[in-house]
Amino acid sequence: MITLTSITKRYGNTVALSDVSFTARQGEVLGLLGQNGAGKTTALNIITGCLAPSAGSVTIGGHDLIQEPRQARRLVGYLPEVPPLYDEMTVRAYLRFACELKLVLPADIPAHVEEIAARTGLKQMLGRRIGNLSKGYRQRVGLAQALCGDPEVLILDEPTSGLDPRQTAEFRETLREQANGRTVLFSSHILSEVQALCDRVIILHHGQIVLDSNLKQLQSGSALRLRADIQGDAKVLLPALRSLAGVRRVTRLPDESGVLSVLLECTQGECPQRTLFTLLSGLNMPLLRLQPVESSLEEVFLKITSEG
């Protein structure tokens, strides 16, 4: 649905994006991650046509953004980091305007506005001036604007930044409902949000893609980590665990009521449960709990962005 081919963006001598290529398929929810200044917003602005690339091309639904801007942009709904809202307009007038911009047929506009307002929880707010709305509702109006014309592609730049936890949860829920069947590309600083909403994640670092992976693969592809709760003497147990075949690192976790808790990081491809049981049985130290720990996106992100 969206294809970026060798996109480079330079501002004078500064390279904001360097040879970025990726494809977002129909119905895929893709998260764009990166530190501040990594090039996320630049990439989104290029995809929406707000910025032109210094080199490379963008196609949306098979339409080149430079050659066929009208056809390409018709397919895109965009919610920038700062929602593009006219404070003096009412929500209804604003959504009508957004529909007109997206070339919705004039006869269909009133019903379309009502439908989008219902889908984004704005039905009661249609007559209110945008300037009088809370931050959460302003963000919803921004999302509603992006949904005008029922675009096949939704592009959202840090959509929950500045919202309180309740507004964030509500906004995420609305987003999850509206993403259904659409290609969604969104950038965020909140890694748990990306983890909760995305199928796939791309990490940008210094304007380059350093990771492009399916989220499930990302989490399952890393080495196994086990949390073990063991009743026994730490002085004896910790050296024994460290010498265990297939265990790369042992980290002691805070003890809970006399039980020793450790995190075992295994060597890639190793599964040391059997040797662990044998060891503990030999030491006569009962194993109370053994639980695999999934590596979080945050750990992957920190690892990748701290390298180079």
Binding site: Y11, C50, P69, P84, L85, E88, F97, L101
Partner: protein, 236 residues
């Protein structure tokens, strides 16, 4: 383009800009009319239109300052630039909306011509010609100041720059009658929007001068579109 035109026009009347522009224009216009026509017992609209022409210099920046620079500051331009509407559609929509406010102001100022028609002697074709030149002059100022607004990051800088450029055009007019060199005088008269308006006030429907104003407006619209496009290539 229609959507941009409608929204822009709505914005003018939902914010103080159109009211300030029209109100101050009519207030100062009334002073010119009172002094030049009522106090002097004169039916000649020429003086009023000459003086009112200077009001464009002062007031069009008020009207144009927010049109592009305000959108840029509020980041609402991203909505326009990511939409299927072309840059020409955006620029024409905004220009025509601004011209509509200007046209409404000119229409309201016809009250002075009406007063002369009732209490004095009005030459309709001459007055119509004068108003046409006056309106064309205003539309050229609007196009110039909209270009300035498209270049600026904030409405205040847009207004200051636009006023500065308008003042420069007035200085061109002043200099054209002050320089001794005939060639330079002709060049300055060619550029001056005030000199270009003079034949209209004396009842001459001058195609060359009308084309001058239309040409300036078209050129500034073209430059505005180029400016908006170039921002896509260089902005961070």
């Amino acid at each position: 383009m229609r959507a941009v035109y409608k929204r822009e026009l709505q914005s003018f009347f939902c914010t103080p800009h159109a009211y300030v522009f029209t109100g101050v224009f009519l207030l100062l216009g009334s002073v010119f009319f009172a002094v030049g026509n009522l106090a002097a017992h004169s039916s000649d609209l020429n003086g009023f239109l000459w003086n009112a022409g200077y009001l464009w210099m002062l007031l069009t920046p008020v009207l144009t300052m927010h049109v592009y620079a305000g959108e840029r500051r509020a980041h609402t331009d991203q909505l326009l630039f990511s939409s299927p509407v072309s840059l020409w559609g955006v620029a024409l929509g905004k220009y025509l909306a601004t011209i509509t406010v200007l046209g409404l102001t000119v229409f309201l100022s016809l009250i002075y011509a009406g007063l002369i028609a009732i209490y004095g002697r009005l030459y309709p074709s001459e007055a119509l010609c004068g108003y046409l030149g006056f309106s064309l002059q205003g539309s050229a100022f609007v196009a110039i100041d909209l270009y300035v607004s498209a270049r600026s990051r904030t409405p205040v800088t847009a207004a200051v720059w636009a006023f500065g450029i308008n003042l420069l055009l007035w200085l061109v007019d002043v200099l054209s009658s002050a320089v001794s060199s005939e060639i330079l005088q002709r060049i300055l008269e060619f550029i001056s929007p005030y000199q270009r308006c003079a034949p209209f006030r004396s009842g001459q429907l001058s195609a060359a001068n009308a084309l001058y104003f239309i040409g300036v407006s078209a050129l500034m619209l073209f430059l505005t579109v180029r400016m908006l496009d170039s921002r896509r290539w260089r902005e961070a």
